[in-house]
Every structure is written in structure tokens, then in C-alpha cells.
């Protein structure tokens, strides 16, 4: 390790949700190897504090430093020092436990994923659930899998938000022992709990929150008994390589989405069916041979636009089912890769939808009109790239809001007006057999795509953070 300790320092942290103040000027320091219990009534701010230290929630004021690095400037090395167990599992319900862990191992650069999964399987008794879809697991089993996810890269700092909830007595005892051994091996553990027995059975230090303020910070009696943090041999030692960079991480995230789609056919089913129904319905209102009018091509592009909204909305919705998106934010991969991976997978799927839509459009509405094939293919590709980029970016915003998916069209439609105008005009020309005047429009659309891509890459990290 380049930095000897992973000390956590909170300096005057405050966090507001609208007019509600969730954290009130909390300052404290947690040394490496400490075992800290965080207690407080419901709504006291325990979860918000842990999410802030994990880097999932940006403080309204104040700063969090881990290993002397401000969390706002956390690089991949610092991200890899943190493990977080949340209320949600941060797993993908459509993937099996093993597939979820393998995906996480790729993101964190764990070279010996199979060996680590086997080791964690033994520690947390996962054998019976590793090859079942996470969505089929009980609350307790999902919690065990989530703990394995957080431990996979052997983080120096382990943050656990009520990790014992849902666990049976045997598993809870296993976890208590595991946490103690991690502390003995030098890991920092901070857990929130309502269970006084847990507080008294291991943690060295107690923090109590009340209405967002730190009202008690004391050393526990149990801390004096057999405390020799860092003296034991390491419990988990994964072989770590550099985490994937932009391209590798993009492909990893896209492959995950395509694997889920292959299993559910959710995007293709909903978006494809929707686009085709709109197109076929519209074909009854326009005579054959009218394909080169702005109105007919407008109908085609509107069906593709709403198919994109539906498809990308579904794909982003999956990220929020068990908050899988947060596992991506916590990982050491470039945040731009999250956007690019999601967009790439959606683009590949929605291009299949677009091909079917355009072919049917020509059959139903173009009749014998001449078609400039290259121009049409270029238009559809560049148009779909633009639609997917804009929709993926705004899905990150919309799905974090209370209105969710219904908010998405309201955000996307005003932004894609220039794209739709250009795509309709280009399609009209291509279906009229005219390729001559398409160059400038194609260039404008490509410029739109490029600008939106740069804007999305630049802002997506901010968009998906709380």
C-alpha cells in the first residue's frame, strides 16, 4: 500500500435533503483497525453518515478524508479501499450470485475471482445460493451475498449499514466472528445497528447519533479486552491487478447489461413491440407511397424515440431495483464507463429494434419509392446514437427523482428536437432517393451526437450521485 493507514476523518459534515437537515456538523476521526458501532433511533442519520463516508452521498458542507485524500477527489485506489454493505443488496436480481460476484471482481480488478468467491462462500456459507438468481433469494441470503460482494476486494475500510438485519442466529454469529477477525487483521469496520448485544460483543467504540448530531462518542469496555488490531495474519488476500480503465470497464458493464437482456428480453420485448405497434397503427392513416413526406418519417422517428425512452428506461430501472448502480459508483472504474457501458448496451439492442422498424416502414409506407440505402442506414445509426446518449443521461436524473420513469420523456423531448428535425429531414431525403443534400445534415447530426456524448461523459458522475 502506498499509504500506511486508511484513517477516516470527518470535518464538520452537514447534509441537507431539501429543508430537512440529516447530518449536523459531525466531526470525528476513526483510526485504521478500529471497530466502531454506530447507533441511534430511526431517522437519526446513521445511513446518511455511512453513505457519505462511502462516497455515495455528497455532503452539503464539510469534507470526508480517507487515507489523507478528500473523498471528492477519490481515485481508483481509494475506491478500492472501501467496502459498503447497504440496506439494498447492490446486486442484479437477474444474475446468479456467482455472476454478480464475478462482475464485481472484474470491476475491482480482482484477478483470482473464482478463488475469492470460493473462500467467501466458505466464510459466509454461500454454497447453496451462489448459482441461484439473486432475485430469487430470501432477505437473509441476499444479505449474505451482499456482504460477500463488499468483501470481495478485501477493503481496508468496511462500512456496514445494519448488516445483521434478516440474518438467522447462526449466520449472525458467523458474521460477528468474521468482522472481529477482519479487525484483528487491521481492517477498519464501522457498522450501524439497533442491537445492543452486537454493540457489546466486539466493537471498540460507540458513536450515537440523535437527529443528525453526534451526541455520544466513547470507548467501550470490551475494547480493552484482547485488542491487538493488525497483529493477525490477513484473512482475505485477493490477487489484485489494476482495475479496468475506460474501455475495459465500458465493455464489462455493457456485457453485464446484454447478459441480463439475454435472460429477460425486457428491452427488446417492450421497446420493440411498442415501436412496431405504433408504426403499424400509423400506417393505416397514411397511404402507401407517402414515405418521403415529413409527416410519415416523423411518425417513424417518433416511434423510435418512444421505443428508446421505453428501452433505456427499463435498462436504467434495473439499476435501481436493488441499487446495482451504486455498486458501479462505489467501484474503482471511471464513472464515464458507467454511462458509456449502459449506452453501448442500449444502442446495440435498440439498433435491432430500429432495423425492424425501418424495414417495416419501407414495406408498409414506402411502396416502390426509391431508397438511398447508405444514406438511410447512416441516418438511422447516427439518429439512434443521439437518442440513446440523451436518454441514458437523463434516465440517470429521472430515475433518481420521485416521478421516476414518467419524468424521462419530459426531460428528453425538448433536448432531442434538433436531432429529430435533422433525422426526419434526412430520412425524407433518403426515402426520396436523394443522397445529394444529405452530407451537411449528417454532419450536423454527428456533431449533435458528439457534443451530447461529451456533455454526458462530463456530467454523468455528478448526475448519478445522490
Amino acid at each position: 500500500m502506498s499509504s500506511p493507514t486508511s484513517r477516516i476523518v470527518l470535518d464538520a459534515i452537514e447534509k441537507d435533503f431539501g429543508r430537512q437537515r440529516a447530518l449536523r456538523r459531525i466531526s470525528l476521526s476513526i483510526e485504521q483497525g478500529e471497530y466502531v458501532a454506530l447507533i441511534g433511533a430511526n431517522g437519526a442519520g446513521k445511513t446518511t453518515l455511512l453513505r457519505t463516508v462511502a462516497g455515495l452521498s455528497r455532503p452539503t458542507s464539510g469534507s470526508v478524508r480517507i487515507a489523507d485524500v478528500d473523498l471528492r477527489r477519490a481515485g481508483p485506489g481509494l475506491r478500492r479501499r472501501i467496502g459498503f454493505v447497504s440496506h439494498a443488496s447492490l446486486l442484479y436480481p437477474e444474475l446468479t450470485g456467482r455472476e454478480n460476484l464475478q462482475f464485481q471482481a472484474r470491476l475491482f480488478g480482482v484477478a483470482d475471482a473464482d478463488s475469492m468467491i470460493a473462500q467467501l462462500g466458505e466464510l459466509l456459507d454461500l454454497a447453496a445460493i451462489l448459482d441461484r438468481p439473486a432475485g430469487e433469494l430470501s432477505r437473509g441470503n441476499l444479505q449474505r451475498l451482499s456482504i460477500a460482494r463488499a468483501l470481495l476486494h478485501a477493503p481496508r475500510v468496511l462500512l456496514l449499514d445494519e448488516p445483521f438485519s434478516g440474518l438467522d442466529q447462526t449466520t449472525a454469529s458467523r458474521l460477528q466472528l468474521l468482522l472481529q477477525r477482519l479487525v484483528d487483521a487491521g481492517h477498519t469496520v464501522v457498522l450501524s445497528t439497533h442491537d445492543r448485544a452486537i454493540v457489546e460483543s466486539g466493537p471498540h467504540r460507540l458513536l450515537r447519533l440523535d437527529d443528525g448530531a453526534l451526541v455520544e462518542d466513547r470507548v467501550l469496555a470490551s475494547a480493552s479486552v484482547d485488542r491487538h488490531a493488525g497483529s493477525a495474519s490477513p484473512l482475505l488476500v485477493p490477487a489484485l491487478r489494476m482495475p479496468p480503465k475506460l474501455l475495459g470497464a465500458t465493455l464489462t458493464i455493457a456485457a453485464k447489461d446484454l447478459r441480463i437482456e439475454a435472460r429477460t428480453r425486457d428491452v427488446l420485448g417492450s421497446a420493440g413491440l411498442f415501436a412496431l405497434v405504433v408504426l403499424i397503427t400509423a400506417s393505416f392513416t397514411a397511404p402507401v407511397g407517402e414515405s418521403s413526406t415529413g409527416m410519415a418519417t416523423g411518425v417513424m422517428w417518433m416511434s423510435l424515440l418512444f421505443a428508446t425512452l421505453l428501452g433505456v428506461g427499463r435498462s436504467s430501472g434495473r439499476e435501481h431495483a436493488e441499487r446495482g448502480i451504486e455498486s458501479l459508483v462505489l467501484s474503482p472504474v471511471p464513472k464515464a464507463a458507467i454511462f458509456l457501458g449502459k449506452a453501448l448496451a442500449s444502442l446495440l439492442l435498440l439498433c435491432l429494434v430500429a432495423i425492424a422498424v425501418v424495414l417495416l416502414f419501407i414495406v408498409f409506407m414506402a411502396g416502390n419509392a426509391p431508397v438511398h440505402v447508405l444514406g438511410l442506414a447512416g441516418t438511422v445509426l447516427i439518429g439512434m446514437v443521439g437518442l440513446v446518449i440523451v436518454t441514458t443521461l437523463f434516465a440517470g436524473i429521472a430515475l433518481g427523482t420521485r416521478l421516476g420513469e414518467s419524468m424521462l420523456p419530459l426531460l428528453v423531448l425538448p433536448v432531442v428536437i434538433p436531432l429529430m428535425v435533422g433525422a426526419v429531414e434526412l430520412t425524407r431525403q433518403a426515402l426520396g432517393g436523394q443522397g445529394g443534400g444529405m452530407g451537411i445534415w449528417l454532419a450536423l447530426l454527428a456533431a449533435f451526437d458528439l457534443v451530447m456524448m461529451m456533455s454526458a461523459v462530463a456530467t454523468f458522475a455528478f448526475v448519478i450521485e445522490e
Binding site: 500500500m1 502506498s2 499509504s3 487515507a67 485524500v69 477527489r73 477519490a74 481515485g75 481508483p76 485506489g77 481509494l78 478500492r80 479501499r81 480488478g109 483470482d112 473462500q119 466458505e122 466464510l123 458467523r174 466472528l177 468474521l178 477477525r181 495474519s233 490477513p234 484473512l235 482475505l236 488476500v237 485477493p238 490477487a239 489484485l240 491487478r241 489494476m242 482495475p243 397511404p287 402507401v288 407511397g289 407517402e290 418521403s292 413526406t293 409527416m295 474503482p332 411502396g367 416502390n368 419509392a369 426509391p370 428536437i417 434538433p418 428535425v421 435533422g422 429531414e425 450536423l444 456533431a447 449533435f448 457534443v451 451530447m452 461529451m454 456533455s455 461523459v457 462530463a458 456530467t459
Partner: protein, 159 residues
């Protein structure tokens, strides 16, 4: 409870702190994005929007500006020439504009000849006050029809 494992060779440690170049990229991208997007939106929307003008309004504007001429077809003025072009007059009751259409086969003129139908021609007024058009739309009370390939006639007949 599980087994301990042997320590493996030293792992690769990526940087703890993010590089500053990313922040610069974010600022440059956002500024560039706003500027270029604005330019594209203005040029794309500005170039594609064609306003409807009546014959009276068109005769008062400067020539060679792309525009949509809307009015009624003056019956009996339609002439098909040897080079395939069609000429006809369009009126709003106050003024009349002579139109030369060179966009190829169309059924729009037949549709526009119906009672109550309006003719929309896309094009521009030339210096000699002839409206040069390459796209015609017959704007009927219930539907649009436009310049169309030959299949249109057969469908209309079948209907």
C-alpha cells in the same frame, strides 16, 4: 468458519487520488457542449422551418427565400409542358401567384382541384415573380396528400 489463505505477491495499487485532468475535461466539455449545441439547434431548426405565406404576402417579400406558399388552385390554369414541368396559378382571393412545379409526377394537383381544397407549394419566388417549386402538397379538409410515386394512383383506385 473458513480457512486462512497464504499471502499472495504484492498487489498493484492504483492512485488514491483522481487526476486533475478530469476536472479540466469536464469544464471544457460542458462549455463546448453548450456553445456547439446552441449553434446546431439554431442552424438545424432555422434551416428546416418553412412558414406558410399567402400569395399576397409572398409578393411583398424578397425573392429567393425558401417558403411555403398556401392558397387555392385557380381552376383551368394548370398546364403541363414538354419538359415535364407543370405551371398553374394559386390565389388567396386578393392576389395570384404563378407557380412552376418541376418536382416530377404528382397527384397533388388533382386533389387540390376538389372543392374546399388548398394547395401548398414549397419553393421560392424568383426575380420575375414566378414561384419555383419542387414539392407540392394538396391540403384537403380531412387529409394531406403529396407528390408521390406511381403506386399512389393504384391505391387510390383500389380504395
Amino acid at each position: 468458519m473458513g480457512s486462512e489463505v497464504q499471502a499472495r505477491p504484492a498487489s498493484v495499487e492504483p492512485p488514491l487520488e483522481a487526476s486533475r485532468s478530469r476536472a479540466v475535461f469536464v469544464i471544457v466539455a460542458v462549455v463546448l457542449g453548450v456553445v456547439v449545441l446552441g449553434s446546431i439547434a439554431v442552424s438545424a431548426i432555422g434551416g428546416s422551418v418553412l412558414y406558410y405565406k399567402t400569395p399576397s404576402e409572398i409578393l411583398q417579400q424578397h425573392p429567393n427565400q425558401p417558403v411555403r406558399l398556401a392558397g387555392k388552385l385557380v381552376s383551368g390554369t394548370q398546364v403541363t409542358h414538354g419538359d415535364g414541368s407543370v405551371t398553374f396559378d394559386v390565389t388567396d382571393g386578393k392576389a395570384t401567384v404563378h407557380v412552376r412545379y418541376t418536382g416530377g409526377a404528382t397527384t397533388a394537383l388533382q386533389s387540390a382541384a376538389r372543392p374546399g381544397a388548398q394547395m401548398v407549394a414549397e419553393g421560392a419566388l424568383s426575380a420575375n415573380n414566378i414561384f419555383e417549386s419542387t414539392n407540392l402538397i394538396a391540403k384537403c379538409p380531412s387529409k394531406f396528400a403529396t407528390a408521390a410515386p406511381s403506386t399512389h394512383a393504384s391505391v387510390a383506385a383500389a380504395a
